[in-house]
Assembly symmetry: C2
Homo-oligomer: 416 residues x 2
């Protein structure tokens, strides 16, 4: 694992080797909300507190009622368990430290054969264990955080990573688009939490598989290294204006995890499918962003504040503005994901057709069609819940059985 | 929650109130393999050991190689984490004791309104959090184990359950049918483990949601109570000859969990869709069972051994024979699930048509068609793995991207 500052263009980002500085997780805006008075406020404290205990009638507004928070925090619970399991050891696993709840396994390495075949095999295993997307990148020290943040010390601690772990398996979990459609809301925040919860358990199972073959595996979520450049290098998508990776399968509606390993597997190549060109003409996210945190101009190496990485020319989000809005509304936002034209159900033929069109010189037409369709309109949280004022049960639930059995399922007869 | 021994017919089982005796989990065949010399053997010890550490080249047979075990144990890892987390407190959560990793929540109960609407709402939440099937039953003390098994004490310990928790939410997770198709194999055992791992995390999140609303929730997997009668009472399926619940959506290819709660929700009614009549003429499972553990006659109240429940007339499996075979092959079996004619992908129109036919007087034709189709033939484990001898990559993997993007995804150009 070597630093390669001479790469002029990498991961969709242009790196200036003379100015590039690796990022410290201490400087991410979430950690700064603990130690940096420029970010910390009563609102940020209330924000974090709200994830630990559902507020009672915090707001009367749609999407911010108690049930919305109850679901959001329940969805986070799977990830929270692991984040809190080793707090006594100053570890916040999945967010500040790698996941570590793995069983010991054999030291004897299984011969994996051809690296390309081994990669295909690993991807099938990962999909079987619940990964929605899987790609493989070469480890790259540039994206490794220089330091972790320690809550106990309220400062930096080391972020060791063995350079022998030269492969990074990037796993993407699609988020629930019916929840994201209600953004901004506490209800939409359930999609975020659920993405993390699914990611954690899937990363742990894939890592245990690798260990069972005799190799090493360090599963990481938001901790340890930047996920975005790895997801791009692993061929899972292209970098978007909103600072998120846009995948062909789920647009930007994806959460990423990554596993550092010495399993001898072939790496994937980055992909291009017209995102850079589309983001160049589209302003859906920057126009809709409630905190004006997304740039509407060309990629730039200007820094908003210490939470941006130095020496990289790219679209860069103003994390202080973004997180400031989260603290104000008391939940994460996701408006940029909702309005992004790539956030659409690609299992539908119509949307696959749109994706093809978006990669051609008719991308302005694709954009016009997207705007005209109303796809990105915010759905009222009340419409998500099945028991709205009119007591209507949504179609999805009513048809839970009839879709597969169409009337053959009757109520019990003589035996009940 | 009261004992109702006067129910003559319940949960698809005929109960004899004069002879009915509640079951003790100490007597289940897995626990007996620890304390009962009639079940315990070097093979059963090796069986359990194999789940803790992948064996190296235990067998050369297809489906029992190291990769197969590596995947099986990785799939179990999600459930194993919770099973082992509180071993120091003599708890084996999810298998002998309820899951307990839940956050405290508000004591103030949210008014849930109409119980039918509250039930619909809960089901939508459960589906969103990852439940494949959800139903609600009334708590029934008959299905509560009289005792739990304590590994530390190598004997019984109490199994308390507050009778105020009068609702049981039953959650079903579909298992991976491509793995089950290779049964019997260690590879097929990955489907079992994965079902449990998904169930655990989903049960915990749903329970946390209920607690966030101010109510109580006790998530249970194989522990605390019998799952089969609850799944039937909750309307998720009918009882089958192989002793499993057959659902209209996934046949018997499902694992169940259950949450005891005081959330005021309406209960579901049991369903009938021709399973009892089909199992009456079908012998697919009893003919295929490698240990002849499944009865080929009519439902009966005869007991094979102490691992059967007393005073119930039903198809009863011989647990000693069944588990004896698992120990012999060093993995769980699942042949009865593979061969059951209801194990088919109901998202396909052809299979939904078959399900409709199976519930009519033409069920013999349905059975004949199933046998003739070769649907239940065992798939070689080598064909499951993408890198078989010929190095062929299965279609599923090759088309991972092209299905949605059909050629628009090229390799990176100038930026890479």
């Amino acid at each position: 694992m070597t630093v390669r500052p001479d790469d002029r263009a990498d991961a969709g980002w242009k790196i200036d080797p003379g100015r590039f500085v690796r990022f410290s997780q201490v400087d991410d805006v979430f950690n700064r909300s603990w130690w940096d008075e420029r970010v910390r406020s009563p609102e940020t404290e209330r924000f974090f507190e709200s994830y630990r205990k559902p507020l009672v009638d915090w707001k009367k507004a749609r999407g911010f009622r108690r049930k919305d928070y109850a679901l959001r925090n329940a969805a986070w619970h799977g990830a929270d368990i692991f984040a809190e399991l080793k707090e006594a050891e100053d570890r916040r696993e999945g967010f500040l430290d790698p996941l570590s709840v793995l069983r010991d396994a054999s030291d004897e390495k299984l011969d994996m054969g051809d690296p390309t075949e081994a990669a295909e095999e690993l991807k099938q295993v990962a999909s079987t264990l619940g990964a929605d997307l899987v790609g493989i990148a070469e480890a790259d020290e540039r994206w490794l955080y220089t330091e972790r943040y320690s809550r106990q010390a309220d400062g930096a601690k080391p972020n060791p990573m063995d350079p022998d772990l030269d492969r990074v398996i990037v796993v993407g979990q699609a988020m629930d688009s019916s929840l994201i459609a209600t953004a901004p809301s506490a209800l939409a925040g359930a999609a975020t939490g659920l993405g993390y919860s699914q990611d954690v358990i899937v990363l742990l199972m894939i890592s245990q598989y690798i260990r069972n073959l005799g190799y090493r595996a360090v599963p990481t979520l938001n901790d340890t290294a930047l996920a975005i450049p790895y997801a791009i290098k692993a061929g899972l998508g292209e970098y978007g204006r909103h600072g998120l990776v846009i995948t062909p399968e789920h647009g930007a509606n994806v959460r990423f995890g990554k596993i550092f390993t010495d399993l001898p597997v072939a790496i994937d190549a980055p992909i291009r499918f017209g995102v850079e060109e589309m983001c160049g003409i589209c302003r859906a996210c920057s126009d809709a962003c409630p905190s004006s945190a997304i740039p509407d101009g060309a990629p730039s190496d200007a820094l908003h504040n210490v939470s941006n990485i130095e020496g990289v020319t790219k679209w860069s989000v103003d994390g202080e503005a973004c997180f400031g809005y989260w603290a104000k509304i008391n939940s994460d936002c996701s408006v940029c994901i909702r309005v992004c034209p790539y956030t659409r159900d690609m299992s539908r033929r119509r949307n696959r057709w749109w994706l093809r069109l978006s990669a051609t010189r008719f991308r302005r037409l694709a954009l016009w069609l997207d705007r005209r369709s109303g796809r990105s309109d915010r759905v009222s949280s009340n419409d998500w819940w099945p028991t709205a004022a009119d007591g209507a049960v949504p179609v999805e639930l009513r048809s839970r059985r009839t879709e597969t059995t169409q009337g053959e399922v009757g109520h019990a007869g003589p035996f009940q």
